[in-house]
């Protein structure tokens, strides 16, 4: 099968928890997540705002802020990034093996320099290209890979449209030749037409360049187009994992069912989303029983499926 070829592990997450320091407490936004990503495969992390998916993505991209608290283990392309409650190797992976496609392309480009300068900074600093002609050639190659013309290079970010900005940030993320790309809500600021274009662009590029791809999104329909595997997160916990087609065809967790059933998910008030000691989904789940007051473990169903729900016993 396909799996056999991709036996090398690209990202390994083991019992990872991530939290942010408050004044005197820590709010944990990712709790005990474990997952594996094989080389060259693609994974969608789906969940609503506040589910911890972006924080998980930032950890894999190596850009956690200094006030973060960690526990568990994170290995990216053989480099230990998090070990023994400490971030140890973030600077060794970021830009070297993993890059990130940002959520807000318009504000993610340096507003004071022209686009070609942004490319030169990355190519010089990360790839070590010094030669002017080589820089120019490489920049052109990158910019044409995302379907933009040369004219863009002499422009400032504020002169570009949202879609152009997003394509520039994608090209920038490819510039260091990473083996993993983390795309954090790559389409959330785009209109419907551009959304489809960008999704396919990211998918095609990651296939062509044989990169592992992690797409973080609240839009479950993107997962279907772009990824092979998916995990569903809710309030910092991994609630379901599986092949995208299996999960979409037969969702096991009630939250996944709800995500699929409703394109426009009803917002639930903050007090309802408070973390309780039992199942994270308890306050919103239509199938609750007394058993749900106890936290369910991640049940394994075969090698590819996992779900955190008592209903599956």
């Amino acid at each position: 099968m396909v799996l056999a070829e991709k036996s090398e592990v690209s990202v390994e997450v083991e019992d990872l928890s991530l939290g942010y320091e408050d004044l005197d407490s820590v709010s944990w936004v990712v709790r005990n997540v474990s997952l594996k990503l094989m080389k060259g495969s693609s994974l969608c992390v789906v969940g609503e705002s506040g589910s911890g998916k972006s924080t998980l993505g930032n950890a894999i991209a190596g850009i956690l802020p200094p006030y973060v608290r960690v526990s568990g283990r994170l290995v990216v392309e053989g480099v230990e990034v998090i070990r023994d409650s400490r971030v140890v190797g973030a600077d060794r992976i970021r830009g070297r093996v993993v890059t990130k496609i940002p959520q807000n392309p318009a504000t993610s480009l340096n507003p004071y320099v022209r686009i070609d300068r942004a490319f030169q900074d990355v190519l010089r600093e990360v790839r070590g290209i010094r030669d002017r002609i080589a820089l120019k050639e490489e920049t052109l190659k990158l910019i044409s890979a995302v379907g933009l013309s040369e004219d863009v290079l002499s422009m400032y970010p504020h002169e570009l449209s949202g879609g152009m900005c997003q394509r520039v940030t994608i090209a920038l993320a490819l510039a260091p030749k990473p083996s993993i790309v983390v795309a954090d809500e790559p389409t959330s600021n785009l209109d419907a037409y551009l959304r489809g274009y960008i999704v396919h662009l990211i998918k095609d590029l990651s296939r062509k360049l044989k990169m592992s791809l992690i797409v973080i999104t609240h839009d479950i329909s993107i997962a279907e187009v772009i990824c092979e595997d998916m995990v569903v997160m809710y309030l910092g916990e991994l609630v379901e994992r599986g092949r995208v087609r299996d999960v979409l065809r037969e969702p096991l967790h009630p939250y996944t069912t709800e995500l699929i059933a409703s394109a426009g998910l009803q917002r639930v008030g903050q007090k309802w989303r408070k973390y309780v000691s039992g199942c994270v989904y308890y306050t919103r789940c239509p199938y609750t029983s007394d058993k749900c007051l106890e936290r369910p473990p991640l049940f394994k169903l075969g090698s590819e499926r996992e779900v955190r729900c008592w209903k599956r016993l």
Partner: protein
């Protein structure tokens, strides 16, 4: 792009014309009766006639807008009159003192701006730490400390070290120096006379220190806060995620964003420093615009005051225009 510069320059020119009109109204129309003074403060039966005569001579019988137009025309033609206080042509008095002040201010700012940037960056990189706190307290203290007091203390300190901080130049040298630009530091280097240069430098440093305090610490404070915020801007985080080195991110991404505002702050405080220079010049017994203004006010030397106001306002307009143009150059997003 070009049209921005043209428009901004035209705005500057019209500001200068408007300024002259306002100065005329303020100084000539508001206080007292110039015709009465011009006629020699006459008394007796023919006094009214004499004052009328004086009004005609001064052009005060004309409508106000004609008076303003005449004043502006004469002023722009270079007819500034003679100073009553100094008994010299006003241009000579104003420009000599103006050069002294500009020398002082430029010297202060050449050091204050880069030092302020460096200090602010240093604090931002150590934000929240003990060094940051100490420097924050120090900068607040220095910004609010009365500058005349600081000047007096410096005079004292320099006297104790045996250096002569007062005046602009040793009287011996002021005869010897060849005036080329009117800026003594440059003139002495062009001549070249190293001894004069050193003397001018030693006398320039203490007043320059006092003038530099405000821009240095206000820039440092601004850079410290602005830079700390910039570390969490999307484009900085994006640059970090791409693996660009700390040094380049600091210089070309984070610090780059604070520069346009620093230019604005420097420009605004440069104008403010003119006022401060007046105090400093008097304490250090230097010639300068501020000193000339005080002398002129004490002796009701109206033509001189008008000229000083004009030159000071002209500097304000030029510096503001220049900072706006520089800002446009530095930040591609600026529009008017």
């Amino acid at each position: 792009m070009a049209s921005y510069y043209v428009r901004r320059t035209l705005l500057g020119v019209s500001l200068i014309l408007g300024l002259l009109a306002i100065i005329y109204v303020l100084v000539y129309v508001a206080p007292g009766n110039p015709a009465y003074v011009w006629a020699g403060k006459p008394r007796g039966p023919r006094a009214v006639e004499a004052i009328k005569q004086a009004e005609r001579e001064l052009g005060l019988d004309q409508p106000l807008y004609i008076q303003i137009a005449q004043f502006i025309t004469r002023f722009l033609a270079g007819e500034w009159g003679v100073s009553i206080a100094f008994k010299q042509p006003i241009q000579v008095v104003v420009f000599r003192s103006f050069k002294a002040t500009v020398e002082l201010l430029t010297f202060s700012y050449v050091f204050a701006i880069p030092l302020g940037l460096a200090l602010g960056t240093f604090m931002a990189l150590r934000r929240g730490g003990r060094v940051d706190l100490l420097l924050k307290i120090a900068s607040s203290t220095f910004i609010s400390i009365p500058r005349f007091w600081l000047a007096l203390i410096l005079v004292l300190v320099f006297y104790l070290t045996g250096l002569q901080p007062l005046g602009r130049l040793d009287p011996r040298y002021s005869v010897e120096i060849k005036e080329i630009t009117g800026f003594y530091l440059l003139d002495s280097l062009f001549t070249p006379r190293l001894d004069i240069f050193l003397d001018a430098l030693v006398r320039l440093i203490p007043p320059a220190l006092v003038v530099a305090v405000y821009p240095l610490f206000s820039i440092a404070r601004y850079v410290r806060y602005s830079l700390s915020e910039r570390f969490y801007e999307d484009y900085v985080i994006e640059a970090i995620s791409l693996g660009i080195s700390r040094r380049v991110i600091l210089a070309r991404y984070a610090l780059r964003g604070t520069i346009p505002a620093v230019v604005q702050i420097a420009g605004m405080s440069f104008v403010y420093s003119f006022v401060e220079a007046a105090v400093v010049e008097i304490i250090f017994m230097r010639e300068g615009v501020g000193r000339v203004l005080v002398e002129g006010l004490l002796r009701s030397d109206y033509p001189l005051i008008v000229a000083v106001f004009f030159v000071a306002s002209l500097t304000l307009v030029i510096v503001n225009t220049a900072t706006d143009l520089i800002q446009k150059k530095l930040d591609p997003r600026v529009r008017i």
